[in-house]
Amino acid sequence: MSAHIIPAKLYVTIWLALMVLTVVTAGVAFIDLGPLNTIVALAIATLKAVLVVLIFMHVKYTSEKLTKLVVISAVFWLFILLALSLFDYGTRTLG
């Protein structure tokens, strides 16, 4: 059984990208973008998470489709949890 071995250079590139994105997200937080601040912060965090999942966690290279299905389903369940809760609390006055 031979596994797909990812070049060390790619891992280091991803690490570098994650470091740069960390600096960017911390720096952008000090600039007033209005409501965009939160959106930018979450977009950068999601980009970082996708890099980790695809490369470090090998989801990009797996031949097992079930693994990909589980990953996508997990994110979808989280979306249901957050989105439906938000629909509820967003459409009523709290307290």
Partner: protein, 233 residues
């Protein structure tokens, strides 16, 4: 039982009898691990959901509370965890290539980075303890109210922010402690030469767990430390 599976069993000492081959065994382990991580996403998801609801309701208290946390400690810890994810990824690679010494070195580096994360977290929590920002009878955020009078801080709502801060960073730290336990186990058996190109599934599964905990932190950092850092107008 077919003859072939018995024959394979003799050739592959790490193959359990209910799997056809090593590839299938590894795919099954990987799928099981991802299913576990899916439940972990929902576990943390409940907290993120509570955070979302209360942040919408008490935004000023969340913004002021976030400003009171040391952004440097949070940023350094983000860097520490990203570095540890690299050492883990390189460690799995070393196992795949059968480089035992390199694997052990990378696992020990990961352990050091994990402990550094917890140490920095401890400093941060100790600061909050000294400032009376730990929810409970001695909670006192009047320093935050005085610093940001324009935000009209409600003390009990501020306490909700810090409850979520401690619950989320605490649950994350608990996962780090469990991760360090897992990696001590992996380091021990890597040292003994248990893992190599034919069988490195435990290293890869431990790696998946470690990366997952890193991803949780990737979200916790902006959501707790960077809510509102822009100059107050």
């Amino acid at each position: 039982m077919s003859d072939s599976s018995v024959a394979v069993e003799h050739h592959e000492p790490d193959l359990q009898h209910h799997f056809a081959d090593m590839g299938q065994q590894k795919d099954a382990a990987s799928l099981g691990m991802w299913l576990f991580l899916a439940t972990e996403i929902m576990f943390f998801g409940g907290m993120f959901c509570a955070y979302l609801i209360y942040r919408r309701a008490y935004y000023n208290e969340f913004a002021a509370g976030s400003r009171s946390i040391n952004i440097w400690l949070g940023a350094i810890n983000t860097v520490v965890l990203i570095c540890s994810s690299l050492t883990v990824a390189m460690g799995v690679r070393a196992a795949q290539m059968g480089k035992r010494k390199l694997l052990v070195i990378l696992l020990i580096l990961t352990l050091i980075l994990g402990l550094a994360f917890l140490g920095i977290k401890g400093i941060e929590w100790h600061d909050k303890y000294k400032e009376h920002h730990i929810p409970g009878p001695s909670f006192d955020a009047s320093d935050i109210s005085r610093e940001y009078p324009q935000l009209h801080i409600d003390q009990s709502h501020e306490q909700i922010f810090f409850s979520l801060y401690f619950a989320m960073t605490g649950l994350h730290a608990l996962h780090m402690i469990i991760g360090i336990g897992l990696f001590l186990y992996l380091t021990h058996f890597s040292w003994k030469g248990r893992y190599g190109p034919e069988y490195y599934t435990p290293v890869e599964m431990g790696g998946l767990y470690w990366h997952f905990v890193d991803i949780v932190w990737i979200y916790l950092f902006p959501l707790l430390y960077l809510i509102d850092r822009k100059p107050l107008g």
